[in-house]
């Protein structure tokens, strides 16, 4: 098969879907790799490196899409730039798709009978961990978020007892102990900070403590709220309120907060209200990793660093793109693992019984195969 690697078009995207070192594993299996000229430049992989690794450099975007059977991409094809329509009828696409927010792209894929696999929809099961870009990119985001916080903070992280007095360690609070949160804990810990972490799931306490951080307890809401009608909403409001209380009690002692709470396909929960920001020490820093989905902090502005109530709030967007070399390396490994899994048969036939193949597929033969995406797009219209 001919695998095409187009240049990313989204502003600020520095990653590339395939790096030179991952080309040999593909060509060894008889595949051919075509790379748009300059595709890896922003991630420090020049065209020559791709050529040396056995890829063919293609001069223009159009000819790349024309020549390739299957496209590897990082960002979803941008409908306003006409990207989805570049992919030829019946061809295959693998990359991020964010289908809930890219209805136009999904429609084009349907019309052109494109078989599209979304990196976000790979089932999060043990054997698919090697393909899980949500994990690998969150790892990078968690790491980078701490460095950004350290950079903005007017303090140093570690404890130092010197002739010029004792420097107390910075107190870092991590909200949400998912992959990004855990990596943030580990990074802050390595920089010498005193780290605590909050997560509503009591089960992750052990994971937090395994990295040497303190787990912040939260009082779980009483059960009787659940009995009345429409309890789900009521419960979640109360739940959120309890979460905010637990966090608010901690905030006055904190120098840097990294927030990582995301809900798949929904707006991020507000964990830090404006009132809570007011209670924080002047000069403290919030790095909001959920900025793109509305933010965990009420005052977050996506893509911007703002100072409000004397607190620096970083609305972090696409942090992996700030570490393009390793982010591309991990992404490329993930996508090649997925590709190898999808096309493991001799004749490159897809196995529609396989959990990963079915789970990751969004469109195929002019149909939306993913129920969740189908529901969202037909109900919301958007």
């Amino acid at each position: 098969m001919k695998i095409g690697i187009p240049k990313e078009t989204v502003a600020g995207e520095t990653r590339v879907a395939l790096i030179p070192s991952m080309i040999a594993p593909l060509t060894k299996k008889g595949h051919e790799v075509l790379v748009e000229s300059g595709a890896g430049m922003a991630a420090s992989f020049p065209d020559e490196a791709y050529t040396a690794a056995g890829a063919t450099i293609i001069g223009t975007t159009q000819s790349l899409y024309d020549a390739a059977d299957i496209i590897f991409k990082v960002q979803p094809p941008q409908a306003d730039k006409g990207e989805p329509a570049l992919i030829g009828e019946g061809k295959t696409f693998i990359g991020y798709m964010a289908p809930f927010y890219n209805a136009e792209m999904v429609k084009t894929f349907q019309q052109r009978k494109i078989t599209a696999f979304s990196m976000e929809f790979i089932p999060r099961i043990t054997r698919a961990q090697s393909m899980d870009t949500l994990s690998s990119m969150a790892t990078i985001a968690g790491y980078k978020a701490v460095l950004m916080a350290a950079n903005e903070l007017g303090k140093i992280f570690p404890l130092l007892m010197t002739a010029a007095g004792t420097i107390t360690p910075a107190n870092v609070l991590i909200l949400g102990a998912g992959v990004a949160g855990l990596q943030a804990i580990a990074t802050a810990k390595r920089l010498g900070a005193r780290v605590s972490a909050f997560d509503p799931r009591p089960a992750v306490r052990e994971q937090v403590e395994s990295l040497g951080a303190t787990f912040v307890e939260m009082e779980l809401p009483e059960e009787d709220v659940e009995t009345k009608g429409g309890y789900a909403k009521a419960q979640s409001d109360l739940f959120l309120q309890k979460e905010q209380e637990a966090i608010a009690a901690r905030l006055p002692k904190i120098d840097a907060v990294i927030t990582t709470a995301q809900i798949f396909g929904k707006a991020a929960p507000v964990l830090i209200t404006e009132e809570m920001v007011k209670k924080m020490n002047p000069g403290s820093v919030i790095v909001d990793l959920a900025a793109e989905n509305g933010g965990n902090c009420q005052l977050t502005e996506a893509g911007k660093t703002v100072v409000k109530e004397n607190v620096t709030i970083i609305g972090a967007v696409n942090l992996p793109a700030t570490v393009p070399v390793h982010a591309s390396q991990m992404y490329a490994k993930n996508i090649v693992n997925l590709f190898n899994h999808l096309y493991q048969a001799e004749d490159n036939a897809l196995d529609w019984e396989d959990e990963i193949t079915v789970g990751a597929c969004i469109t195929r033969d002019g149909e939306i195969t993913n129920e969740m995406v189908k529901d969202r797009l037909s109900n919301g219209g958007n």
Binding site: Q129, S130, L182, A186, Q207, S210
Partner: protein
């Protein structure tokens, strides 16, 4: 009078040597010395007994010593290391029959004209000695392959055993009440005991034989102690009691190690003819439980060790002490490396964070693809708090959530040691057959505590 005092003192010395011997036998490190002490004690006791006034004829004794000694020496020399259990079983049996014969001789010599308490001890000696003898012979036959290893259960087996036991008690009471018919009682007791010894051991499977041998060993001690009472020989009473008690303790330790109760071993009739059954359900499989001391001894003999860390290591915060262990081994010339599975832990790079904290050199950390081919040339694979990443089900079990995930080939190492909190399944919920493998040593406990104990043992030298 002085002779008797000397005799007693020398017997006391012998007994002290026995105790020292047992004490030293409790650790494989000192076991050789323990054997030596016990031998010395036995020599002292035998020599003293020869000087004792009860000796009638030295000719018989010398002939006996030469014949018995020669058989023992030749047998011990010729026996294969793997056949040691049946050899021990056989020797136990000889101990038992010796007690029976001595008791019988004593009874015959005295024409039944003995006191009540002596009559009791003679009867017990006959009973226990004979049970030990026939039981040991069955154990020997099963282990040697003369008899089928699988449990043989007769109809109403438990009831039969109970009846035999009751019959033995009744016979002993009768023997005490009617000492005139001493010869008849003795013969019947021996007969009942012989049957009981057989029915007692045949329903127990070959895999459980070591426990039975240990128990029979304890019986032979008790029989010897009874004979000691019969003869009025204090050192025999002491030695017999020591063997009886230590055998019982050992039996218990073995049962705990197999996660079984003694009752389950003796009456369960579930032990198979050695090894695991293929048709067996998970619940019926048993694992072998080892201690950190066992692990340390294994480590000392290894030339190459691969450590496989997992989430359990992180939870226990055992990375520092683990590195201390690795350092000790490396200082002794053992090749130590860490194998890091890409999904070990609960976040990407979890193990790297831990290892960096413990100052493990990056050169010692190898990713899966780089080290997987080395397991087959490795003496010990030490898995600490990892489970799914070494589960062989990932290779072939199609309905498993792990199927298709590449795993570390720890099962190819010569010995696999797994330190784990429990037998539970891993994150993916798949049971791990590796735990039940013959070459796997399971060490249950908190990773930090286990490794700390391991380091402690390694440092003792």
């Amino acid at each position: 009078m002085t002779m008797e005092i000397i005799t007693r003192i020398v017997y006391l010395v012998a007994a002290v040597f026995f105790i020292l011997g047992l004490k030293n036998l409790s650790s494989p490190k000192t076991a050789r010395r323990g054997n030596l002490f016990a031998m010395l004690g036995m020599l002292i006791a035998v020599v003293m007994t020869l000087f004792d006034r009860n000796i009638i004829s030295f000719e018989y004794i010398i002939v006996g010593l030469i014949v018995g000694g020669a058989i023992g020496a030749v047998a011990a020399k010729k026996v294969q290391m793997t056949s040691m259990p049946q050899m021990v079983a056989l020797f136990n049996g000889f101990g038992g029959i010796a007690s029976t014969l001595v008791a019988f001789a004593e009874l015959y010599q005295a024409h039944g004209d003995v006191a009540v308490h002596a009559n009791l001890t003679v009867s017990l000696s006959l009973l226990i000695g004979t049970v030990t003898f026939t039981g040991s012979l069955i154990a020997y036959a099963k282990l040697q392959g003369i008899m089928r290893g699988a449990p043989i259960v007769l109809p109403l087996h438990q009831i039969l055993n109970t009846l035999l036991l009751i019959a033995s008690v009744v016979l002993i009471v009768l023997a005490i009440m009617y000492p005139g018919e001493y010869l008849l009682w003795a013969i019947i007791i021996v007969g009942v005991a012989a049957i009981f010894g057989i029915t007692f051991v045949i329903p127990i499977g070959g895999a459980d034989m070591p426990v039975v041998i240990s128990l029979l060993n304890s019986y032979s001690g008790v029989a010897a102690a009874m004979t000691g009472f019969v003869l009025g020989n204090s050192v025999l009473i002491i030695a017999g009691a020591l063997v009886g008690a230590s055998g019982l303790i050992l039996t218990n330790i073995m049962c705990v190690a197999m996660n079984r109760s003694l009752a389950n071993v003796l009456f369960g009739a579930v032990g198979t003819d050695g090894g695991a059954t293929t048709s067996g359900e998970k619940e019926t499989r048993t694992v072998t439980n080892y201690t950190p001391v066992d692990a340390a001894i294994m480590m000392e003999q290894a030339q190459s060790v691969i450590i496989v860390p997992g989430y359990g290591l992180a939870v226990a915060q055992a990375q520092h002490v683990l590195q201390e262990m690795a350092q000790i081994l490396m200082d002794r010339g053992v090749k130590v490396r860490y194998a890091i599975h890409p999904v070990a832990g609960r976040m990407p790079g979890h193990m790297n964070v831990l290892m960096a904290e413990a100052n493990v050199s990056y050169d010692l950390l190898l990713e899966m693809d780089a080290i997987n081919d080395d397991f087959q040339d490795t003496d010990v694979a030490l898995v600490i708090g990892a489970n799914d990443v070494v589960n062989p089900a990932a290779r072939y079990k199609k309905d498993s959530p792990l199927y298709g995930m590449p795993i570390l080939n720890v099962d190819q190492a010569r010995t696999v040691m797994i330190v784990k909190r429990s037998l539970g399944a891993g994150f993916a919920g798949e049971a791990n057959e590796l735990f039940f493998d013959d070459k796997t040593m399971m060490i249950f406990g908190d990773a930090k505590k286990v490794v700390t104990d391991l380091v402690k043992t390694l440092k003792e030298e």
